[in-house]
């Protein structure tokens, strides 16, 4: 038991979920107070003790399934699972139904699955509809077993194919047909739910997602039986959304990142607004201090400070939206626009080889994918051939908009500085730098590949105040926070990454300038 917990903790740490030692001790203590034979209870207990962030829950569930699937595998079950793949005769009913209730094991109900083997796909679909509508988890698991047997073509030698296995199983069972059936079931006359069809459809889509999850769990369980938990965990390891690199993110990863961005922007905005209100005190307000001292007999017990009115920076964002770095650009635009209250104004420009203003467009969009879509539709930033030309874009910006920049403007350039061997036009960036208060360059590439190939970041760097490596949402968040915090001083600038109370004290008033001077 404890070995499994240790493996689980090690894997969680590998993925990036912080698990302090005290939590591991708690986990061990928790195991003494619950029924360790009930997998559901174990899952709930470990989850309560080890996970401290809602964003990590799904990661925990996956890892838990990987490590605790093997534990309850009885010997005979393991044997018959060795021959998965072509095992139509796989005697499911021969195995004891060993799971507890609720979240019990990957095992189906004793008895029921035996009959399921002989049903044809159509009858299975009916049962699926029934189990999804009734939220009958044991039946759904039993069905998932049969479906995976029949359709997923799991090859234990290729665990990385799990996405394909899943896709195949879902296609063979025809998930669209399932949605239609679920909708029909919801509609059906006086006995059905009788909800509007659109509502039923949305509900059905969620239910089919549940099925996908059950199938994935089952496939993963089979891989674990064959290869061992550590191995499967290592092969299928997916980083936490906030640690996924922007460059080369798959569609699934982008979706995961999108989900964390919204809450992140909200909590970041709340935090920055809070800091602005509470942690900045201006000089002593003598008049009001004396006034409050009246109630304590003239003794100034509570000094009152003036509320400072920090100058918020004006932001100008230049985003390279060419294919390679568009994910990064749209996420950054989205985050910055979500924090609009922290800045006096935000203007966004998109470029590929030409440049144009897209502020309204970004404001209108709800999330990063929508930004990308709107930008595409508008054909923004494309002048000639649609390949990045930083030189042309920057000189275009310098010509048309540099006159509108002031010392209070902070310019952010988002891009990998891969200019396809065009003239980099460093002088244009120098013009921008002279007109603006600060120029920061955010580069989504790992530092190691800067200045390799056609990357000319090294040429631009001298004209930027900072060049920041910004590969993940975590990096982006750290940068944005520093940017807004620095905004309270007169000259915007970026401080070293340290955070915390000590740091904040430094930010106050005049000390801040010294901080930047060196």
């Amino acid at each position: 038991m404890l070995t499994a917990v240790e493996g689980l903790v090690a894997e969680l740490r590998q993925v990036g979920v912080p698990v302090p030692v005290s939590a591991v001790v708690d986990a061990a203590r928790a195991m003494t107070r619950i029924d360790v034979l009930d997998r559901g209870e174990v899952r709930v207990a470990l989850r309560a003790v080890l996970v401290k962030d809602a964003g990590h829950l799904s990661t925990f569930d996956t890892v838990f399934d990987t490590f605790f699937a093997l534990q309850e595998q009885p010997v005979d079950g393991e044997e018959s699972d060795r021959v998965t793949g072509g095992s139509e005769d796989d005697g499911t009913d021969a195995r004891p139904g060993d799971d507890g209730d609720g979240d019990g094991g990957a095992r189906g109900q004793g008895g029921a699955p035996g009959g399921l083997q002989h049903l044809d796909d159509d009858a299975l679909r009916d049962l699926l509809v029934q189990s999804l509508r009734k939220e009958d988890a044991p039946l759904l698991r039993a069905l998932a077993r049969v479906l995976v047997d029949r359709h997923a073509a799991v090859n234990p030698a290729r665990p990385q194919d799990i996405g394909y296995n899943l896709y195949r199983a879902l296609r063979m069972i025809d998930s669209n047909d399932l949605v239609a059936r679920l909708v029909a079931a919801a509609d059906a006359g006086p006995d059905g739910d009788g909800v509007p069809s659109e509502v039923a459809e949305l509900a059905a889509e969620t239910q089919v997602q549940t099925l996908g999850l059950a199938l994935e769990t089952e496939i993963r369980r089979r891989l674990v039986v064959d290869r061992g938990a550590e191995d499967v965990a290592r092969t299928l390891r997916t980083p936490l959304p906030e640690n996924m690199a922007f460059l080369g993110a798959s569609a699934l990863q982008v979706a995961a990142m999108r989900r964390v961005l919204g809450p992140l922007a909200r909590s970041l905005a709340a935090r920055m607004a809070d800091r602005r209100r509470h942690h900045r005190r201006g000089p002593l307000d003598v008049r009001r201090t004396v006034r409050t001292a009246m109630s304590t007999g003239g003794v100034p017990m509570t000094p009152v400070f003036r509320r400072p009115h920090p100058a918020k920076p004006q932001l100008v964002v230049l985003a390279d939206i060419s294919g390679s770095v568009s994910t990064f650009a749209t996420f950054t635009l989205q985050l910055i626009h979500a924090l609009r209250s922290e800045f006096t104004s935000i203007r966004s420009f998109a470029f590929v080889d030409g440049i144009e203003e897209v502020t309204d467009l970004v404001d209108r969009a709800g999330d990063p994918t929508e930004i990308a879509r709107l930008l595409n539709e508008a054909g923004a930033g494309v002048w000639l051939d649609g390949r990045s030309d930083y030189g042309n874009a920057l000189s275009g910006f310098a010509e048309r908009w540099a006159s509108q920049l002031t010392r209070r403007t902070t310019v952010l350039v988002l891009g990998d500085a891969r200019s396809n061997d065009h003239d980099p036009r460093v002088d244009a960036l120098a013009t921008v730098r002279r007109a603006a208060g600060a120029v920061h360059w955010l580069n989504p590439e790992p530092r190691g590949s800067w200045n390799t190939g056609d990357s000319v970041i090294g040429l631009y760097a001298p004209h930027c105040d900072t060049v920041v490596e910004c590969r993940t949402i975590r990096d982006l968040r750290a940068f944005t926070e520093r940017l807004a915090a620095a905004g309270a001083s007169v000259a915007p600038g970026v401080q070293p990454a340290a955070e915390g109370a000590g740091q904040r004290r430094h930010d106050r008033g005049a000390e801040h300038h010294h901080h930047h001077a060196h």
Partner: protein
């Protein structure tokens, strides 16, 4: 850590009994909620309950109190909450009176030490919720509501109480809990809580319930509603939550809607009834409009 395994109240002995007790108290827990509450009692650790607004986080603490027959002590957090409001405060007026009365009465028989010892005794202490929970003789459930509204500095106040169930008062020394209360902290996650606080708590995420569970909630909370209508309500709300909305309808709004429908004598939720009452479920004009366009587009006969 040396600990004497204290038997928790019998209703908290197993996850199942917790679930049953909560259900009797009118709260429908899922497996995770029941299991976590059980674990909190078994390990004597506070529970940090997180999740979207209106999913019954506060209700959970109230129901646990009801189910275990304990007294509920509630600390509502807000910006600017300080020690004097959360922990304890000396009763200055009473102290002042005591000093004056002492001086007037037995003139010099009483030294300053006596007076000082006297006025800094528990008698002159105003107990605020945290101290109250620690000093309680009976069973209590401590609810620290919306802990994410606390300032970062004030959050540290909670740490001593949450890890050791004790409060240090300089004049009196350390006051330790006579019986460890069950503690629930709720958070809407409007800001990141400190690691130190999270480490001391068990984590419980309460999300939106599944349609099936929501149907049961509606059935138990809205007397007189038909099973069919409850099912429709649950499905419709679940579908609305799928849409990309600014604020998704919460469980409490589902209940409001179910009550509205019942009051108006609506017997089944067809497209029209749904559209007419959208304003009960959705609180932003833009949400109402986007839901309306989405729903009318597809409720046309196909």
């Amino acid at each position: 850590m040396s600990e004497i395994p204290v038997e928790p109240p019998s209703v908290l002995a197993t996850p199942r009994s917790v679930g049953d007790a909560l259900r009797t108290a009118g709260y429908l827990p899922d497996e995770t909620i029941a299991g976590t509450v059980h674990l909190a009692a078994a390990l004597e650790k506070p529970v940090l309950v997180e999740g979207p607004a209106g999913t019954g986080k506060t209700e959970l603490a109230k129901s646990v109190a009801l189910a275990t027959g304990a007294r509920l002590i509630r600390l509502q957090c807000y910006e600017g909450l300080d020690e004097a409001k959360a922990l304890y405060e000396w009763d200055y007026r009473k102290q002042l009176l005591r000093i004056q009365a002492g001086g007037a009465g037995r003139s010099d028989t009483e030294g300053w030490e006596d007076v000082e010892g006297d006025i800094f005794s528990e008698h002159y202490l105003l107990r605020r919720p945290l101290l109250e929970a620690i000093r309680a003789e009976d069973d209590v459930v401590l609810l620290i509501d919306e802990v994410d509204r606390l300032d970062v500095e004030t959050e540290a106040l909670l740490l001593e109480v949450l890890s050791d169930y004790q409060v240090s008062i300089p004049e009196l020394g350390t006051i330790t809990a006579r019986r460890r209360p069950l503690v629930f902290l709720t958070s809407n996650n409007s800001r990141e809580l400190s690691e130190a606080l999270k480490r001391r708590c068990l984590f419980l995420h309460v999300g939106y319930p599944s349609p099936e569970r929501e149907r049961e909630i509606v059935l138990s909370r809205v007397p007189g509603i038909s099973e069919r209508l409850a099912g429709q309500v649950a499905t419709a709300v679940a579908a609305l939550r799928q849409m990309d909305l600014k604020k998704r309808p919460s469980v409490s709004e589902t209940l409001d809607w179910a009550r509205t429908l019942l009051l108006l004598g609506v017997e089944s939720v067809d497209g029209e009834a749904l559209l007419r009452h959208l304003n009960v479920l959705l609180k932003h004009q833009s949400d109402i409009e986007s839901a309306r366009t989405r729903l009318t587009r597809d409720t046309r006969p196909r």
